[in-house]
Amino acid sequence: MIGVEGLSVHFNAGCAVRDAQFAIAPGDRVGVVGESGCGKSVLALSLMGMLPETARMSGSLKIDGVEMAGSDEAAWRNLRARRLAMIFQEPMSALNPLRRVGETVMEPMRVHLGLSRADARRKALALFEETGIPEPEQRFRQFPHELSGGQRQRVLIALALACDPDVLIADEPTTALDANVALRIITLLVELSKRRNMALLFISHDLEAVRRATTRVMIMYGGDIVEQAPTQSLLVAPAHPYARGLLATRPRFRPARQRDLRLPTIPGAVPPLKDLPIGCRFSGRCPVELAHCREQAPPRRTQGSGTVACHHTGEVLAGHARPIEKAFV
């Protein structure tokens, strides 16, 4: 349904997404994980045809077999009306502060589905219910600033689901939610995907949420998709050195005696776009870097049931290369 080949996105400052390649079929549930600033939201916006004007996209992006790269706003608007929907990362910026949230959620149903006011209202209330918004009738009449952060996030989820999309792009949909509500939302999205064959692109830094929501994961670093594999295997045995660092630095419950210790991190930071190495984006921070990593883009290779973009071969990446994990403390 969505086919991406050699997709890159450039800003004046540099390249935010490089040579992305993947396909999403109806009913697929795909996770996207990676460090802050690695290009997850930019990739998502490109699939929605919603990149800012300052962005330049190249490569191929096919939706239902139709090439969308370079197509006009009307074509995109048509797709977004019925087929594609997105849960945006920052709820406050995506909701109109001057409108009651109920009106906001009803609007696309009225415009795109042609529902009557009463039907739209019924459907919106049902969505509020399903996303676990307490006292839906009352919330319906409130303004965004009168809701808690987690309630606003759920309004946004209801809005994205308003027109029964075939593809849902969810950018950090559970970030502001406590464990119970987050689980409820994940369960809802998975169920919708199964029941209606809805494809789900699930962007999150919460690896346990990704584990529950998806069957396949793409790990991004510095604009590159560095590893793609089935969720179960990737979260147990990641191959790419960055993916390993990511798993090694997961937060855990810490008893008091450890509380004064600093948490493990991947040393350094993602360089700004203009300073990204032209070869492997992770070079400079990689504990097993080779001489040519910085200059040469790594090949994409099959590894197990996924693909990895790394100059190292199976030997180093397979198994339990403890030295890689040890580097991240």
């Binding site: 802050s36 009352q138 950018d171 979260l235 147990v236 810490r254 339990h320 991240f328």
Partner: protein
Amino acid sequence: MPALLQLDRVTRRYALPRRSLLRAPAPLTAVSNVSLTLARGETLGVVGESGSGKSTLARLAMGFERPDEGAVCFDGKDLARLSKPELKALRPRFQMVFQDPYGSLDPRRRVGWSVAEPLRVLRREEPAVIESQVNAVLERVGLRVEDARKYPHEFSGGQRQRIAIARGIVTSPDLLIADEAVSALDVSVQAQILNLLMDLRDDMGLGLFFISHDLQVVSSISDRIVVLRQGEIVDDGPTDDVMFRSRNAYTRSLMAAAGWRAARDGQSAATDR
């Protein structure tokens, strides 16, 4: 010495929208009879499910909203009794990072301007001094000096959240109220920011009022934890007591609910010792 922050039986109610013309609905009590203290250099974790009143408590503690009942004292001063200019003069000493970073950054202003704003309130520093402080604080949160010249929309969500944190610590405040301040960050950057907050606490005695729904994150940084439920504190104690041996049924249900989020060790990381 007075406590850094003291809340004394604080209650906050909100009016709800009318459904009929005849009768206004009973107001919603978002925070109910909450008392707590926070000492210098201490980290107080605040947990509770969505809608339990955490952000409302934060706004009250900052003096952005007045409580309907009770008092909020910062460094012994009752915020409700301060004049606007007095409150403004005190502001650099207690700062807040908001749950929604977009809301706290002016989209038409360069990031450097927004980060420097709490400093300018002081009206003491030379522009060059302000600039160097802004640069230093941007680097501490993992951003670059040149980022000061960009606009908020040129950043990713997590980068914007770090800009908001930079703004919160630029005055070296005595108290930082952090409302879900690290929740949009990936684990490694999140750990870097938590480490930074711990450094500020240890080096400068920063008091932290740390709100998060992520119990692992809270447990990794807090000395004490309070549990909020429907606006009331239902449990309170040293972190380990609340996290691991609470007798409170609600706290235990929160912990149990969080269980699925806890990192599982299919592969035990090198850091697990």
